[in-house]
Structures are given as structure tokens and as C-alpha cells.
């Protein structure tokens, strides 16, 4: 996926929403900027399929050697898929954060939070201010 097509949370997660069998499904990951800032990821803790997630709430964690960073869900719904191979190949997050580095897929139960997400240009502006 091209980042231009994605929506971003201020907390550096991205989401790509598509229609699947009449339901809205969001693929969720973390941005290239976030991966770079976190440096040397060593571990990732992911939720299981079936877990309910809520926009703005924690759904997992990534760890570097001496820091733990929560992953916040950009959307509200139920997890229908988890990229279980990711914790064993964390370098994927560096190499391909927007495709192979996806983390979870969420069947949306509420779309209102999507309005709060940023487009790529707005997100890049935010990163420039942070960086």
C-alpha cells in the first residue's frame, strides 16, 4: 500500500479501510516514522483474534531494549486477523511498514473515529513538528 492511501492516528498508527463482504474492515499498522523513532525493536505483544478494540485504546505493545510503547487502535471494532508472523520478523516493520508490516485487521463496529484520523500530508506535518 502507498502511504498516500492511508489514514493516520496522532499516535502513529495507520489504518486502511476497505469493504469486505458488506462490512468495513480496517487493516492497522504503525508508521515508518514510528518504527524509526522506536529504534531496534526487540519484541511485540499482540492481541488474539476476537478481541474487541476501541479507538484510542491500547491493543498491544512494541518493545525496544529499554522502552515499551503501547500500540493504540485507530479504529473501533473486533479483531478478525492478526499478523502472527510479525513478532518473529520484526525487521519487516522497518522494511515494509505499510504492507507486510500490517499488525491487525479489525471489523469496524463504529466508524465515527475515522473522522479524527489524519491524511498522509497532515500526518507528515505532525511528524515534522515532532521530529
Amino acid at each position: 500500500m502507498n502511504p498516500d492511501e492511508l489514514l493516520f492516528a496522532e499516535t502513529h498508527e495507520w489504518a486502511k479501510v476497505v469493504d469486505e463482504d458488506g462490512a468495513k474492515v480496517a487493516t492497522v499498522g504503525i508508521s515508518a516514522f514510528a518504527v524509526e523513532q522506536l529504534t531496534d525493536l526487540v519484541y511485540m505483544e499482540l492481541p488474539s483474534v476476537g478481541t474487541a478494540v476501541e479507538a484510542g485504546r491500547e491493543f498491544g505493545e512494541v518493545e525496544s531494549v529499554k522502552a515499551v510503547s503501547p500500540l493504540y487502535s485507530p479504529v473501533t471494532g473486533e479483531i478478525i486477523a492478526v499478523n502472527t508472523s510479525l513478532p518473529d520478523s520484526l525487521e519487516t516493520l522497518n522494511a515494509d511498514p505499510y504492507n507486510a508490516g500490517w499488525i491487525i485487521k479489525v471489523k469496524l463496529t463504529n466508524e465515527s473515529s475515522l473522522a479524527k484520523l489524519l491524511d498522509y500530508a497532515a500526518y507528515q506535518k505532525q511528524c515534522a513538528e515532532e521530529g
Partner: protein, 484 residues
């Protein structure tokens, strides 16, 4: 001189049939093990431990010891850890058979000398803290924090009050919020103000009748005495809350100020810091706590009491929170603390703190010209310098300086703590170091800040190993030796 043949993992030195310790054959009639233990619990073979001779064991561990820096061998200004001299007399005395070889369930009448010592120690801890009720049971500082918070929770329960929050300054040691959590409270962070002290406005906004305890480290982790402490205590007390003092930094104020006199209701000591119990490569410590009279009934059982001239363990304490540790506590550490206090007496303890503060201020005065100390011209027993300027101008981080100091034969200060100062280096020289040592250390620091960044990034250069790959260690954990 290190012998690298002896420092490979001990399992690689093993050879079947070798042995250091042999036991005699049973002097009682031996029966077949099958008759004594049922099959379901019998081992087919003993555990696959390594097989070594005594010379192997001695040479291996002796050579490993030479790979450590220690207080006995090096200046060790590790802030917040009070790495002072560990008196040899204390080691010898704590190892006397009349102390080391006592069983914890011996009848009280067979341990009168030890109980007397512990009773006197309770009194001395109470006097030094200004808090009269003492429990020697907690096994470490963090354990003391947890115990005291449980005492507070029991006290509030008894009053019928539901208090759910513990306030913790952002500069506090990480054990504070972790302990609060384990005692069933929610930890709420209080910001520091620009001086590094508790931000009173932030405190005001977060202080309500839900607050059970305010945990304060004073002198703070920045090495500053927070002179607002009485006012803070006043406000917290007015809301019905309690003040907990993290006693990690008691080395600055022995005989000069007492937590009980500046508003604390509870505190712990770190005897392995303040009272010179050695740090043992990571432990043991002890975490005795002192509390006000009104909280005394809730302390863990037993405590040592005196009845009719005899000493006894008192278990008859209806309001006690119960036990936090099996047996009495870390007696070996407590005996060393007793020896330390008796060696010093009232004047000596005060002098120890005065010299700890003098040494820290002297070092600060030497260092501040090239490594800024953001919080104040003066300090108590330690100070926090920052390398953030150097990082910006030369790309030299606090970690680089720490690593390079190792090449100069000094243990590094505590780096990256407290979290409130960027590129922080927390330096605590203690009283048991000379002006010559402090001068030489300051000189080394100065030279390092003048060195080329590339040299520093690769430091240390002269230690047994260079910087380890921590990412690899965490990504692919290898937590035990395996044969391949």
C-alpha cells in the same frame, strides 16, 4: 591477572567423574531408596549439573571476580546507590557463629543476644527517623515501600475510608509506582517544577479525598532537599492522606533532619546503602520501615519487644497486616547496619552525612563548568549533571561519557535517571572517598568531554569486553548455557 582459560562458562570445564565435595557414607543403616520413596517421586538420575574439581571451581570464580568493578577496588559514584566503603569488621561480626548459625525457629530464650541487638536497632532506627514504630521484616527497599503502603491501606480500611490513589513525583524511583500498584492503589504522577522540586500547583490539582499516600523522595533523586516538604505534608494531612518518605537518600541527613520531624508518616531505610551493608553484586538488601505511633499497630508481625528484662518476638498484634516475609527478616544485613551505627554514634553519623554532602558539593563545583548541573549550584549528597549540550554540539551522550569513564578506572555514574533530566548523569561520591580521588575523577571527566566523539562512541577500549549487543540479547534471548 585474569586467566581466560578459567572464565569460559563453567559447564565447558566439566568432565564426567570430577568432583569437589564428597560426603561420607551413611553412618546409619542404609535402606534401599525404593523402600523409602515411591516411584512417582523418585529421580531416575541426579540433575545434570557440571562436574568439577575444587581447583576448577576456585580458579573459575576467582577469575570471574576480577572482571568486576567494586567498591573495594574502584571509585563507584553510582548515584542513588550510596556505594560507600563496606567495613570489614561488619562482615566478620555478622559471620560469628553466634549470629550466622542461628535457626529462625529457635526459642526466644536461646537467642536473647540477637533479639537484644534487633531491639536496640529498632530503637536506633526510630530515633534516626523520628518515627517511633519499626518493622525490620521487609527484605529490600521496594519491599519496604510495598509493606508501608499495605500498612496505610489497612489504616484507611480501619477508618472506613476508601482511598484509591497514591501520588508519585515524576522524578521518583520506578519502584514507587510499581509498589503502589501492588498495594492496590492507582499511581498518579505529580510533575516537577523547573527547580526539580514537587510542582505544588500540579499537587493541588490532584490532591483530593481519594488520595491515600503521597510518596516523596527527600532529598530528591536530583540531590535536592525539597524545602516545601512541610507544606506538602500539611496539605496532604489536611486531606486525610499520609506522607511516605522513600529513604533512599538518607545518607545526606543523618542526625541533621528527621523525616518524622518534616512531616513523614512512614519511611523505609536502605541499610545496604545508608548503613554500609555491602551491595552483594545486586543484593541482599533490607527494607526496614518506620511509622508514626498511629500506624504502628498495622506493622507486620512479629516485632521484637522487651518484657521483664527479656526479649521476645511479639505476635499478639490484632491489627497487623500480617506477614510480608517468612521468618524474621534479613537479619544478616540488619546486624551489619547495627555495627555501622554503633561504630559511628551520634556524632559519627552526622559527620558521615556532612562529609557525604561536602564531597558531593566539591565534586559539583569542579564538574559544573564543563558538565552543566541544571538544578542548582549546590546539592545534598549527590547531583545530576547533563550531557545534553555535548550531545547537541559534539554528539557525545551521557552513555558515551559513562563508558569512557570505565577506561579511566572509574565506575560510571547512574545514567538516564532520573527521567526528568535529559542525558542525565547522577553522581554520588559518598563520604568514604578522598579529595584526591574526587580531583582525579573530575580531571578524568574533563578530559573525556574534550575527547573526539568517535573515540567515545567506541568506548570502553580497555575493559574485558566492549559494548555488548543488547538488541541481540533481547531479540533472541539466550538465558542459559546449552551444549552446542
Amino acid at each position: 591477572m585474569r586467566n581466560t582459560r578459567a572464565t569460559q562458562p563453567i559447564f565447558e570445564l566439566s568432565k564426567p567423574g570430577r568432583r569437589a565435595t564428597r560426603f561420607p557414607r551413611p553412618d546409619v543403616p542404609a535402606r534401599p531408596i525404593e523402600d523409602l520413596l515411591p516411584e512417582h517421586c523418585r529421580a531416575a538420575a541426579p540433575p545434570p549439573l557440571p562436574e568439577l574439581t575444587e581447583p576448577d571451581v576456585v580458579r573459575h570464580f576467582t577469575n570471574l571476580s576480577t572482571l568486576n568493578m567494586s567498591v573495594d577496588t574502584h571509585f563507584y559514584p553510582l548515584g542513588s546507590c550510596t556505594m560507600k566503603h563496606n567495613p570489614k569488621r561488619n562482615e566478620r561480626l555478622a559471620n560469628l557463629p553466634g549470629i550466622a548459625d542461628l535457626h529462625p525457629y529457635q526459642p526466644d530464650e536461646t537467642v536473647q543476644g540477637l533479639l537484644q541487638l534487633l531491639y536496640e536497632l529498632q530503637d536506633m532506627f526510630a530515633e534516626i527517623s523520628g518515627l517511633p514504630a519499626v518493622s525490620l521484616q521487609p527484605a529490600a527497599g521496594a519491599h519496604g515501600e510495598l509493606t508501608a503502603l499495605m500498612v496505610a491501606a489497612a489504616y484507611f480500611d480501619d477508618l472506613g475510608e476508601k482511598r484509591t490513589k497514591v501520588l508519585v513525583p515524576d522524578s521518583a524511583h520506578g519502584t514507587n509506582p510499581a509498589s503502589a500498584r501492588m498495594a492496590g492503589f492507582d499511581a498518579v504522577t505529580i510533575k516537577s517544577d523547573p527547580r526539580g522540586l514537587v510542582d505544588l500547583d500540579d499537587l493541588r490539582s490532584k490532591l483530593d479525598e481519594q488520595v491515600g499516600v503521597f510518596m516523596i523522595t527527600n532529598p530528591s533523586t536530583l540531590g535536592i532537599f525539597d524545602d516545601q516538604v512541610a507544606e506538602i505534608a500539611d496539605r496532604v494531612h489536611k486531606e486525610g492522606g499520609l506522607i511516605y518518605l522513600d529513604g533512599a537518600n538518607m545518607n545526606a541527613i543523618l542526625g541533621i533532619a528527621r523525616p518524622g520531624d518534616f512531616g513523614a508518616d512512614m519511611m523505609h531505610y536502605n541499610p545496604h546503602k545508608t548503613f554500609s551493608g555491602p551491595h552483594g553484586g545486586g543484593g541482599p538488601g533490607a527494607g526496614p520501615i518506620c511509622v508514626t505511633d498511629k500506624l504502628g499497630p498495622y506493622l507486620p508481625s512479629p516485632v521484637v519487644c522487651q518484657r521483664d528484662g527479656r526479649f521476645a518476638l511479639d505476635y499478639e498484634r490484632a491489627k497487623s497486616i500480617g506477614r510480608v516475609r517468612a521468618f524474621f527478616g534479613n537479619v544478616g544485613v540488619l546486624v551489619r547496619a547495627y555495627c555501622y551505627i554503633r561504630t559511628h554514634g551520634p556524632d559519627g553519623l552526622r559527620r558521615a552525612s556532612e562529609n557525604a554532602v561536602l564531597n558531593a558539593n566539591y565534586l559539583l563545583s569542579r564538574v559544573k563548568h564543563f558538565l552543566p548541573v541544571p538544578h542548582g549550584e549546590r546539592c545534598m549528597h549527590e547531583f545530576v549533571a547533563t550531557a545534553s549540550e555535548l550531545k547537541k554540539t559534539k554528539g557525545i551522550s551521557a552513555m558515551d561519557i559513562a563508558k569512557r569513564l570505565l577506561d579511566f578506572g572509574y565506575h560510571a555514574p547512574t545514567v538516564y535517571f532520573p527521567l526528568t533530566v535529559s542525558e542525565s548523569m547522577m553522581i554520588e561520591p559518598t563520604e568514604s572517598e578522598s579529595k584526591e580521588t574526587l580531583d582525579a575523577f573530575a580531571e578524568a571527566l574533563f578530559r573525556i568531554t574534550d575527547e573526539a566523539a568517535d573515540l567515545l562512541h567506541e568506548a570502553p577500549h580497555t575493559t574485558p569486553i566492549s559494548r555488548p549487543n543488547e538488541v541481540q540479547a533481547a531479540r533472541n534471548p539466550v538465558l542459559k548455557w546449552t551444549s552446542c
